[in-house]
């Protein structure tokens, strides 16, 4: 049963990723695109954890943690760039 459920969940997350991509291309302003990129990072993280469960391997958690950290840092860096024009005060 778990196998079917995981395929179903991967499909749902795939639709979510497609919606994020549409917003990334459409987004009328720059903050919209940053928000779409941030959501894309988080959804990719969820997909990687799902892959880890399917392959029964804990190796994927380090990758997921790194993606979480990089996503946060890049979002903050983009926002600071928009706010002040430079990243490090």
């Amino acid at each position: 049963m778990l196998g079917y459920v995981m395929v179903f969940c991967a499909a749902l997350l795939g639709v979510a990723v497609i919606l994020n991509m549409l917003r990334l291309f459409m987004g009328p302003d720059v903050p919209d695109r940053i928000l779409a990129l941030d959501t894309l990072y988080i959804n990719a993280l969820a997909l990687i954890i799902l892959l880890g469960i399917q392959q029964q391997s804990t190796l994927y958690f380090e990758a997921a943690l790194l993606i979480a950290v990089l996503g946060f840092i890049s979002t903050v860096a983009f926002s600071k760039h928009l706010l002040h024009g430079d990243i490090i005060d």
């Binding site: 049963m1 778990l2 459920v5 995981m6 179903f8 969940c9 749902l12 997350l13 639709v15 979510a16 990723v17 919606l19 994020n20 549409l22 917003r23 009328p28 302003d29 720059v30 903050p31 919209d32 940053i34 928000l35 779409a36 941030d38 959501t39 988080i42 959804n43 993280l45 969820a46 954890i49 799902l50 880890g52 469960i53 029964q56 804990t58 958690f61 997921a64 943690l65 979480a68 950290v69 946060f72 979002t75 903050v76 983009f78 926002s79 600071k80 928009l82 706010l83």
Partner: protein
């Protein structure tokens, strides 16, 4: 072989998590202005990933026959960072004066 109730619990958590992640993405896609779009991802995705990570924790605790806790770190990290990045994006958007929906009450601050 995994007992049936455990499989049911993991499936439930996985489905709840991915449905919430999808709702966050739908909110990002169809809400009319930037500040409303900010609500979808910051809330729905934290709970979505939280559900999936909880399922992974239960699965690996059973699979390795010992408590597996390092998935919790990702959840903690997301719960701490999601409000911070939302706040930063909101400030950037206020400074750029993005278009607001006509029905918005109140005004953002001038920075």
């Amino acid at each position: 072989m995994m007992p049936f109730w455990l499989e049911l619990l993991i499936s439930f958590l996985l489905i709840v998590g991915s449905v919430f992640a999808l709702i966050g993405a739908v909110g990002l896609y169809r809400l009319p202005d930037f500040f409303m779009r900010l609500h979808g991802p910051t809330k729905a995705t934290t709970l979505g990933v939280g559900g999936i990570i909880l399922a992974a924790m239960i699965f690996f605790t059973y699979h390795r026959q010992e408590f597996s806790g390092h998935e919790l770190l990702i959840t903690f990290f997301l719960f701490i960072t999601a409000p911070v990045s939302a706040h930063m994006m909101a400030r950037a958007a206020m400074q750029l004066k993005v278009r607001l929906s006509a029905r918005t009450q109140g005004r953002p601050w001038e920075e």
